[in-house]
């Protein structure tokens, strides 16, 4: 099989063209780097405490600050309307499809992971990369309090 274009969507290209068509002439400058930091996993998954980070919010009113909330019972709904996702092709009524707390709890029961952290974290999505990194530090501190040793980040 052959084709003349790549299969995977480039969201950088799509959003640049989309906002240009809306009359925004200066394209957004996305974060870029050539190397990544790395902390090896020094103990097995079955002994690790997994903490989840989502970009969804507990309510539309609380979408502007990072937060932590109990992992269990998992919320049965989250606020996502303010985020950019494919609202024409899918839906977010199934929380497990983007915030897998119940799934992780089941994997802990099965011994695949050590445990699910007692709290999950949420981080707002903003254009400012400086604010994002500042909020990431709040989450680092919360996860350190909870002895999280593997963070699972799940963007919408």
């Amino acid at each position: 099989m052959t084709k003349a274009h790549r299969t995977f969507v480039s969201y950088i290209d799509k959003s640049r063209d989309f906002y240009a068509a809306q009359g925004y002439d200066a394209p957004y400058r996305w974060a870029t780097a050539s190397t990544a930091p790395f902390t090896p996993l020094s103990k097995p998954l079955s002994e690790r405490r997994v903490g989840v980070i989502t970009t969804s919010s507990l309510s539309s009113d609380s979408a502007l600050e990072p937060y932590v909330a109990p992992s269990l019972p998992a919320p049965d709904a989250m606020a996502t309307d303010h985020l950019s996702w494919h609202k024409g092709a899918t839906h977010t009524n199934d929380v497990g499809s983007f915030l897998p707390l119940d799934h992780l709890n089941a994997l802990a029961d099965d011994g695949v992971i050590g445990s699910l952290a007692p709290r999950f974290a949420g981080i707002p999505t903003v254009y400012s990369q400086r604010r994002t990194t500042k909020w990431a530090e709040h989450i680092r501190a919360w996860f350190a309090e909870d002895d999280v040793d593997l963070a699972l980040l799940v963007p919408l």
Binding site: V9, A31, L45, P100, T132, V148
Partner: protein, 120 residues
């Protein structure tokens, strides 16, 4: 913007001693940021763990993501996870479609007017 947000967050956590893995569906944004570990699901944005209302597939994808994280040997490790999508086949074309330029221009004008009104 969700993917950039978690990419920057993962880099911050990882630099401060907490290992991370991202499970997401926008690979170009995360490739540009350079993240420690990334499992890619080629699905419409909104359900990175797996298609909505398919808990069995979600759990398989999640398990694969965690196994990948455990085995990833180097920073910027990534994996393309197998997914079964049975929804609309043209989802790649319909997201942020440019098919109606007049409507897009009008939407941009309305947004700018709203932003200007808030400043005054």
């Amino acid at each position: 913007m969700c993917h950039q947000t978690v990419g920057l967050t993962a880099r911050h956590l990882e630099a401060n001693g907490i290992p991370t893995v991202i499970l997401g569906s926008a690979r170009d944004i995360l490739d540009e940021i350079a993240v420690p570990r990334f499992a890619f699901t080629d699905l419409p944005l909104g359900n990175p763990v797996g298609p909505a209302d398919d808990p069995a597939q979600q759990r398989d994808i999640l398990t694969s993501t965690l196994r990948f994280a455990e085995a990833a040997p180097l920073p910027q490790s990534s994996v393309v996870l197998p997914v079964v999508w049975s929804g609309t086949p043209d989802w790649r074309e319909t997201y942020m479609s440019l098919d109606d330029p007049e409507a897009l221009r009008a939407a941009g004008d309305a947004r700018r007017a709203s932003q200007q009104a808030r400043k005054q």
